[in-house]
């Protein structure tokens, strides 16, 4: 068994890490402070070609395998989880269904520009009464001559207020639960489609997050992203494990950033005549953090490898998302303690990591939902 990255993957990691440090790190504090979408940085970063990471070369991508993609998500989140969130929307969730089911015209009009960063995209699941519980979706899609009419309100939509197009989850009949779900492409400028309130978030700041409102929004038949009506939940299953693994990679990235800051601090900060890193209780924190981060790393990259091999990943991906995120939460907490009172100061990084890490609790399933699912898989089986 071989658990390491290849020489090529290590090189990719170094290159992405360097890009993050040169291009993104100088803007991290401003992105967090202003909570505004960093348009100039977006343009500069998009020009490097990373947004097409997981798509074929003919669409402007590089057909990266899941392990390589996870390296990218981890390194990006080590820099700025807010910016990473916006990028990953274009790289993965906001473009996948256009790639799978979009007509050549839709690909040309929306997908290819999104992979170049010329269009900003998003994915709309959450509503006031439904998050992880997608079967409770209330946004309604009604079949009409030549297309569909959408009505409803989506909430917690990353990039929502500034998106050029959105992949929208809607139901043809709430009574059908999971079997009523479908994805639709809705483009900016479509009559009845408008942004609602913006949410002021605790962390993961930068991408604008908020409501999207659909009032009698007509979309043509080709905007139904799927081969059959009512199979939206099945299609979601295609990327669910990748999304959960990606969230684990983001958690690992935040944890590493916090850990590295704390390590540097513990080596330099003196108390009672010696660096605090020389005290046993501080060393114990590093030992515990490093051990659990190593376990997270193994889970993230094992799951990524399994995704690449086409192996079943539903359970391990859920475990990975949950474990890596919980580890990240522990690490960012310990790091604020290692920094002492400075961990409570806006001028230092730990408070940002502490806030950012909590963002990962919700996307891809809350941990209450995931524990329930994993437990059921183990006890009842399929």
């Amino acid at each position: 068994m071989h658990f390491g990255l290849t020489e090529e993957q290590e090189f990719f990691r170094t290159a992405v890490s360097d890009t993050v440090e040169r291009m993104i790190m100088p803007h991290v504090e401003k992105i967090d402070e202003t909570d505004e979408f960093p348009t100039e940085l977006w343009k500069e970063f998009s020009a490097l070609g990373y947004l097409g990471l997981r798509y074929p070369e003919e669409l402007g991508g590089i057909a990266a395998d899941p392990v390589t993609s996870m390296i990218f998500y981890e390194e990006l989140s080590r820099g700025s989880v807010g910016f990473a969130q916006a990028v990953i929307m274009n790289t993965l969730m906001g473009t996948h269904f256009l790639y799978r089911f979009g007509s050549p015209e839709i690909k040309e009009r929306c997908l290819v520009p999104a992979l170049r960063g010329e269009k900003i995209t998003t994915m709309c699941f959450t509503e006031d009464q439904s998050g992880s519980d997608i079967a409770n979706t209330r946004t309604l899609a009604k079949k009409v001559e030549g297309g569909w009419v959408l009505n409803g309100t989506k909430n917690w939509i990353t990039n929502g207020p500034i998106a050029d197009f959105a992949t929208v989850l809607a139901t043809t009949d709430p009574a059908l639960g999971m079997k009523g779900l479908n994805f639709f492409l809705v483009e900016k400028g479509t009559e009845g489609f408008s942004p609602g309130q913006t949410i002021h978030k605790l962390g993961a700041r930068g991408p604008v997050t908020g409501e999207l409102v659909f009032v009698d929004v007509f979309v043509p038949d080709e905007n139904l992203l799927g081969e059959e009506v009512g199979r939206g939940a099945d299609y979601l299953g295609e990327i669910l494990d990748e999304v959960r693994c990606m969230t684990g990679a983001m958690a690992l990235g935040i944890a590493r950033a916090a850990f590295n800051d704390a390590l540097e601090y513990a080596r330099k900060r003196e108390a009672f005549g010696k660096p605090i890193g020389e005290y046993q209780l501080i060393r114990a924190k590093f030992a515990d953090m490093a051990t659990e981060m190593e376990a997270s790393r193994l889970m993230v990259y094992q799951t990524a490898w399994m995704l690449g091999e086409g192996l079943p990943t539903r359970k391990i991906a859920a475990m990975t998302k949950m474990f890596a995120t919980e580890t990240c939460l522990k690490v960012v907490d310990e790091v604020t303690r290692i920094f002492g009172a400075n961990g409570f100061a806006q001028e230092y990084g730990p408070q940002r990591y502490f806030r950012d890490a909590r963002f990962l609790l919700y996307g891809g399933g809350t941990h209450e939902i995931l524990r329930n699912f994993i437990g059921r898989e183990i006890v009842v089986g399929r």
Partner: protein, 255 residues
């Protein structure tokens, strides 16, 4: 036009460095990168190629197993090909042996311009560029901050302690890059993927006509003296000045 770029792999400036027990060796965190000055040299070569329309750029590095990362980075930035001089005799080699190896290879491959960084960020010796130029018997302009090429003639600017110097020379020439010459580009992902997959050709010292010679040995390492912490003096300028004089007189005792 054929452009050779000499590159070195160095520890990342952020890498953790410790002096080994006994003080004879360094323990370096395994984070290795392309020397920053060499990145500027690679960027300069790419800019020359862009300005004159066509050129072949190759990057070369010498080391015992080290140098591959630096060469891949140069490939990712856009050089056409790379060559690694890989030989156990290069372990701990001094600037002269490295320069002989690089000069031997560059002579074999051909060149019109040889670019190098002004110095490396680890040893900071700044000798390889000029030594290679001397071994090749060509002119060398050190610390270039601006360059114009007109046919066979070049005009380069370099910063000296007394001001800017403008130097004219003819090809072939060696140029070492100083900070401010260019900002090295961040590689595009396509370049990174190309570099990831590239086979890096290796040659031995013998193949570039070099017999290993002895190199200077490091006798020991010492940490720099710890600087006293910075003390900020608050308040109005006149009061701050009085406080500064008092501190210099009473605390530091230098006046």
């Amino acid at each position: 036009m054929k452009i050779a770029v000499l590159v070195k792999e160095v520890p990342d400036l952020e890498a953790h460095v410790e002096i080994a027990a006994g003080g004879k060796a360094l323990i370096l965190e395994k984070k290795r990168v392309l020397n920053y000055y060499d990145e500027i040299a690679v960027e300069a070569a790419l800019q020359v190629k862009q300005s004159i329309g066509s050129a072949e750029i190759y990057a070369v590095s010498a080391g015992n197993g080290t140098g591959i990362e630096a060469l891949r980075r140069a490939l990712a930035m856009g050089v056409d090909r790379v060559i690694h001089i890989n030989d156990p005799a290069l372990e701990g080699a001094g600037p002269l042996v490295v320069s002989q190896a690089l000069a031997g290879l560059v002579k074999r491959e051909g060149f019109d311009v040889v670019f190098a960084g002004k110095k490396s960020t680890d040893d900071e010796a700044g000798m390889v560029g000029p030594m290679v130029a001397a071994l090749l018997g060509i002119a060398c302009v050190q610390g270039v901050t601006a360059l114009r090429i007109d046919g066979k003639d070049i005009t380069a600017k370099r910063e000296t302690e007394r001001g800017t110097e403008t130097v004219k020379a003819s090809l072939p020439v060696a140029l070492t890059a100083e900070k401010g010459f260019y900002t090295p580009r961040v590689p595009q992902v396509m370049g990174i993927m190309k570099a990831m997959k590239a086979e890096v050709p290796k040659v031995s010292l013998a193949e570039v006509g070099v017999e290993a010679v002895s190199s200077p040995q490091v006798r020991g390492y010492n940490r720099p003296k710890v600087r006293l912490p910075v003390k900020m003096i608050e308040g109005a300028a006149s009061q701050a000045a009085s406080e500064l004089v008092r501190l210099l007189r009473e605390d530091v005792k230098v006046i």
